[in-house]
Symmetry: C2
């Protein structure tokens, strides 16, 4: 059995009784019942995900997968392709958005070269797991072979297995110039939504470039005919190496019962792919935020995920995941640290009826 099949088989839906048990404790804390809303939901879910009745967050890791895209040659982005490489160096130097927000959240950033069209020297914080030197141009044929796509997924699974452990929470992130183009193609392939409905302006493209982007995505879908019932095929044909890596990380995290905070549009395309392989991954995912990219909500709704934040973000890298992590952790602390009515000597609700 392949690494991928093995991990997919390990993933089990969480036990709802664990959530009910957690709610019992939440209802004894000195606050009106349910008054901390989604913070209580996050605490319940952390109990169910980890199987620990007193879960803690002790280690936070953001995995930022970087890759290039052949389709960048079609002029679908506002930035030149070399920015993928340059931004990897910026991540390693600590000056990018994800570095700032990860520091704020107390998280470590691991940068994975899974498909950048450049040979990096060894560097602290860089994990070299290159599968492709950028994907092929999906307007002209499949972005990757099935084997390459599977290798990218397995890289993500390995990372999850290596870094999972008690008290660990993962976040996903990515960097890849032009990668909203394959992500939009994947959403359309998986959900059947029109290309127009799932394609946004990425880094901020003008009207002419947007028209080009729509045409390129339509051509790529026509050329490759991805089949929604074959998620690996969708990834290979119109996906990307970093998206496949993220799908793998999510699959691995779910197999290891490790909570995973999914960043924005691109990361969610990876999540959707993992979900189509085994819907139980949903139980291990926290949707960090609602991106400006309009295809994002369609994906989240198709998986029944409710984003934590809505701050008009559209940077990627893992920035939304880092921010949302702090809110999830707040929920866990509420659960662990608040006094009960008994402990604090506070009177409980009156019988009103």
């Amino acid at each position: 059995m392949s690494k991928l099949d093995e991990a997919l088989k390990e993933i089990k839906p969480v036990n709802p009784e664990l959530m009910a048990g957690a709610q019992q404790r939440l209802d004894c804390l000195t606050k009106p019942k349910d008054s901390l809303g989604r913070l209580e939901e996050f605490a319940r879910r952390m109990v169910a995900i980890t199987g620990q009745m007193r879960p803690a967050v002790r280690k936070r890791i953001i995995f930022t997968f970087a890759a290039d895209h052949g389709v960048a040659d079609e002029g679908v982005s506002a930035f030149p392709k070399e920015v993928t490489r340059q931004m990897v160096l910026n991540f390693l130097g600590g000056g990018a958005g994800i570095n700032v927000l990860a520091r704020h959240a107390g998280a470590e950033v691991k940068v994975i070269d899974i498909g950048v069209d450049h040979e990096f020297d060894e560097a602290d914080g860089l994990i070299r797991m290159k599968v492709v030197n950028g994907t092929a141009n999906m307007r002209k044929g499949p972005a990757m072979t099935r084997e390459e796509a599977e290798k990218c997924i397995e890289a993500g699974i390995s990372l999850a297995r290596e870094h999972a452990g008690p008290g660990v929470i993962f976040g996903t992130g990515e960097m890849g110039i032009a990668n909203t183009t394959p992500a939009s193609a994947m959403v359309s392939a998986f959900t059947g939504a029109s290309v127009e409905d799932v394609t946004g302006r990425g880094t901020g493209i003008d009207d002419r470039t947007y028209e080009t982007k729509l045409a390129v995505i339509k051509d790529a879908l026509k050329m490759n005919r991805p089949d929604a019932s074959d998620p690996l095929g969708v990834l290979a044909k119109v996906g990307g190496a970093e998206i496949a890596g993220i799908a793998g990380l999510i699959i691995g995290a779910s197999a290891m019962r490790t909570p995973i905070v999914v960043d924005g549009f691109i990361s969610t395309a990876g999540a959707l792919c993992a979900y189509r392989m085994n819907p139980a991954v949903k139980d291990y995912i926290f949707a960090s935020h609602n991106s400006v990219e309009k295809g994002h909500r369609i994906m989240l709704e198709s998986m029944g995920l409710d984003p934590i934040l809505d701050l008009n973000l559209r940077l990627g890298e893992g920035t939304g995941a880092a921010l949302a992590m702090t809110i999830i952790e707040a929920g866990v602390k509420i659960y662990n640290e608040m006094a009960t009515f008994g402990e604090a000597g506070v009177s409980e609700e009156k019988g009103q009826r």
Copy 2:
């Protein structure tokens, strides 16, 4: 001139040129323009509020005002009145929701007895500024005299003046059994919205208690006839001591150019009162979250404030303010810590047109 009039006169709208200057720096950072959405807004606003081109958050203080309400005698809450006192002790013991979330945010909690119907001993973290031993029952007459309401406001102003300083950010919070009842009455008085449209279930009351609550608010409005053009009168007639304290804290913070994060429904009633006294306070306010209490959004919209979080919270105490503070601080860090395109050697946007 009274302390209140003096502070109101000091408040000036922020200078929009400072925001434009901040945006110039934001646009040089290694990210697509505007891609960090509201985080960029928070950074711009922090520059404009403080007048510092490189603002920092170094000290975070949540002021949790506690007070009792005569109207609790009408049976409008799910909790008995002694819970106000008990929760003050819980705050001082560090076991309440606000303690947990303030620790998470790196904030200090200051508890102000501004109107609890109990004499507290001196205690670390407790500020004794009692103006009333609970308000009078507003169903039967005014909750406070104008002089009492003004004294509560001035207590808030004094606190703001004492604690403001470079790098300081304030948050508001409150505790007062039955206080959604006066807050709803205030929203109706100020906005003209119907009592039904601004009255929620507070700590979680049942249908019969809810009907009572509606009747009590209607009676109080009929009895006291608050006049929206006289905000101090509204506060005195159908408000509360903690709500007045919060209004004062916001007025004082605005006079001192100190950012203030306003918590949920009750705190926003205080903010609305301050806003009706001088609309420029709005420039200094961050609306932390969108409460479950349905009158909340009506108030926020009437001031043109857009809440940062939407997590189905309805606890008060300052819990939403503590959480939102961490997000605002993230925006400030983005502004201060990200590398520019030049520093990082990253190529800027291509000319697309």
